[in-house]
């Protein structure tokens, strides 16, 4: 297969600094990323593994505010007017300032969609509605362990996109893509939603296996790992990120 694979890549806002995170974003786009998923650090990211939690804790220890994260997103939006930007975070940061208020600010910063895994799609505190009002989409997260009736309900709820977590558990471990993964993806798509597939995607081989089944392949921890390792050597960081993004997006 020689076609480019659509890639959604994940970054923690402000990690390790705003400037280095910005360099990383540039390197991702250069490497073929079509969508940037920007995580706003939360003090208790219970769906994330140790790698991303450590990154979030580090950023928050500088007294990093939601406003700083949104300013970072604005900067990305100005630099990359055509890239799709999704905001990933947790319910607390959305609910505390008021869902309507948060969505308005996110849209103003240039966000196109929201991924908030702990606001359930059928009890989302008005997230879907407020996304719509502000020209964004709410992207719920499906998991392979979902009971079939619940998954069916999600698939038929009219969401334009659904994020399919391809493995039970948390971010950061490698996932094997087998028959049951593909069957799960079919179910997620069954109501007509487009599907982003990720969780534990580290190699081009995995991306290729997934590519034809999803709208875009999602990779997160693999980049956070590179950033964590190379934060004192920005040139190497950029180079490795671009190479990895190229590998995953098949260019």
């Amino acid at each position: 297969m020689t076609e480019k694979i659509k890639l959604m890549s994940h970054l923690v806002a402000g990690y390790p600094t705003d400037d280095l995170a910005f360099l990383a974003a540039q390197a991702l786009v250069r490497g073929g990323a079509d969508i940037l998923e920007i995580q706003l650090p939360f003090s208790d990211p219970s769906a994330d593994g140790p790698l991303i939690q450590t990154a979030c804790t580090e950023v928050l220890s500088r007294n990093y505010r939601v406003a700083d994260g949104l300013a970072f997103i604005s900067r990305l939006r100005k630099t990359f007017p055509k890239i799709t930007i999704y905001l990933m975070s947790y319910g607390s940061l959305v609910y505390t300032p008021g869902v309507a208020n948060f969505c308005k600010k996110a849209a103003a910063a240039g966000v196109n969609g929201m991924i908030i895994p702990d606001l359930p799609f059928d009890n989302d505190e008005g997230l879907t509605e407020n996304c719509l009002k502000n020209g964004m989409v709410n992207i719920p997260v499906a998991a392979p362990s979902m009971a079939s009736e619940r998954l069916e309900k999600l698939a038929n709820s009219g969401f334009p996109y659904i994020y399919a977590a391809l493995r039970t558990g948390i971010t950061g471990r490698q996932t094997s893509i087998d028959g049951s993964t593909l069957a799960f993806l079919e179910k997620v798509k069954s109501g007509g939603s487009k599907v982003y597939g990720g969780f534990g995607i580290y190699t081009g081989q995995q991306a290729k296996t997934l590519a034809s089944k999803v709208e875009a392949v999602v990779a997160g921890s693999v980049f956070v790992k590179i950033i964590a390792q190379d934060q004192n050597n920005p040139e190497l960081m950029e180079k490795e990120i671009t190479e990895k993004a190229r590998e995953l997006s098949n260019i």
Partner: protein, 423 residues
């Protein structure tokens, strides 16, 4: 508001979790609802409560405290006499027994003070289940005696080094483990909080405390004026209050950790503090100590068991409705209460429970002598010796620790060690 409607107590509660946790929660809810109507399950639990936990626990009349404080008759529910030293065993045993019926072989739990971890470790040892306890690194340090005991029961204590390294981080870590391993694993959450069905389930297993109080008071014609319990997450409080929620004449009072003062980061007061707000965290909607963005604020309390940024949703709802009053007790006042009840009644309160004792000391005078106020001593204070000793006998304690370290480093038997002075 005696139980939830679809997981909600008024506006609080819910099941705010990522979909990965939805199935284990839904399965748990179904199993809980089934077994709470199953006679064989309830009978087995009852026998364990009687013969292993040591129920019923005494309702003790405290004559000297009554005399010294003036006003109400002071009673203490000696829940700390339950096996493993606190009320936590009521819930841990109930959930472990339920998990066994569900076919789970592995148990995980979070712990703050260590009392819930200890209770879960003991329940697992008794029922033949494997046990891993997540505990914040800071709590591991300040509650070493409980860590040692958990290991004796055969549990693995996993220190949590992420985030603030306390109870809330242990909850996150346990949720992660559960998300990945729920097929063979049950997560025994220790307080009446978290996503549904935990608040209902924990209250039901803890309500044995309140039911006994109700029976004991009826047998002895005790007229209750008020009931007092400490509130961290609130499992002892909601279990103690549960049968009395609709008995309007009885005041129900929750004592929160006032820490060292009213400032941000100085306490763990979710119902009394101005820094608290409605929020969604760790799977439920309730009152939390959060900043304007929604980030968890640091908390502070001398008692590890109350050092948590959220409060059970049912208690939050009952507080908002005015049915439960909340008060805030400083570290200093809790220590004074430990000393007061130890010296005058021969009863050693855990630092957590001493917050309820201190609140009772403040309000006793408001009542006529024919009325009783009942303090729930949810745990006993043996575990706190590393915290209370430096306060009550600092120089002797320091000498002891130095001598003990020297002895261990030189690999000496206790009989050959240096005399600590005095004799």
């Amino acid at each position: 508001m005696t139980s939830s409607v679809d997981g909600f107590f008024g506006q609080f509660g819910g099941k705010y979790v990522a979909e990965v946790l939805r199935r284990p929660l839904d399965e748990l809810q179904a199993a809980f609802e089934h077994y709470m109507k199953d006679d064989a399950f309830l009978k087995e639990l009852h026998i364990i409560q009687r013969d292993y936990i040591g129920r019923e626990t005494p309702l003790y009349f405290a004559p000297k405290a009554t005399e010294l404080l003036g006003g109400a008759q002071i009673y203490i529910k000696l829940e700390g006499l339950a096996n493993t030293g606190a009320h936590k065993i009521n819930n841990a045993m109930g959930q472990c027994l339920l998990a066994k019926r569900m076919g789970k072989t592995r148990i995980i739990a979070e712990t703050g003070a260590g009392q819930h971890g200890l209770a879960t470790a003991a329940a697992c040892a008794k029922l033949g289940l494997s046990c891993t306890v997540y505990m914040g690194e800071i709590d591991v340090r300040r509650q070493q005696p409980n860590v040692a005991a958990m290991e004796l029961y055969g549990a693995k204590v996993q220190p949590v080094t992420s985030g603030s390294r306390t109870l809330k981080d242990a909850v996150n870590e346990a949720m992660r483990d559960w998300a990945a391993n729920f097929e063979n694993t049950h997560y025994v959450l220790g307080s009446a909080l978290g996503p549904a069905p935990y608040p209902d389930m924990v209250r039901e297993f803890q309500s044995v405390i309140g039911k006994e109080v109700e029976k004991q008071c009826a047998e002895r014609n005790i007229e209750i004026g008020a009931m007092l319990a400490c509130v961290g997450g609130g499992s002892n409080a909601i279990g103690f209050f549960a049968p009395f929620l609709e008995k309007k004449g009885i005041r129900l009072i929750g004592a929160e950790a006032g820490g060292i003062g009213p400032g941000k980061g100085e306490n763990a007061s979710r119902m009394c503090s101005t820094a608290a707000r409605d929020g969604i965290m760790q799977g439920y909607k309730s009152r939390f100590l959060l900043d304007e963005d929604g980030q968890a604020l640091p908390t502070r309390s001398i008692s590890a068991g109350l050092d948590y940024c959220g409060v059970g949703p049912q208690l939050a709802a009952l507080g908002r409705a005015g049915r439960i009053e909340f008060t805030s007790i400083l570290d200093r006042e809790a220590l004074e209460a430990v000393s007061f009840f130890a010296k005058n009644e021969g009863i050693l309160f855990a630092l957590e429970s001493a917050h309820a004792g201190a609140a009772a000391m403040k309000i006793a005078k408001e009542f006529n002598p024919h009325k009783a106020i009942i303090i729930n001593m949810s745990g006993r204070g043996d575990k706190d010796v590393f915290i209370t000793s430096p306060v009550f006998r600092p120089s002797e304690w320091k000498q002891f620790l130095h001598a003990e370290i020297e002895r261990l480093e030189n690999n000496k038997d206790i009989h050959d060690t240096n005399i600590m002075g005095g004799c």
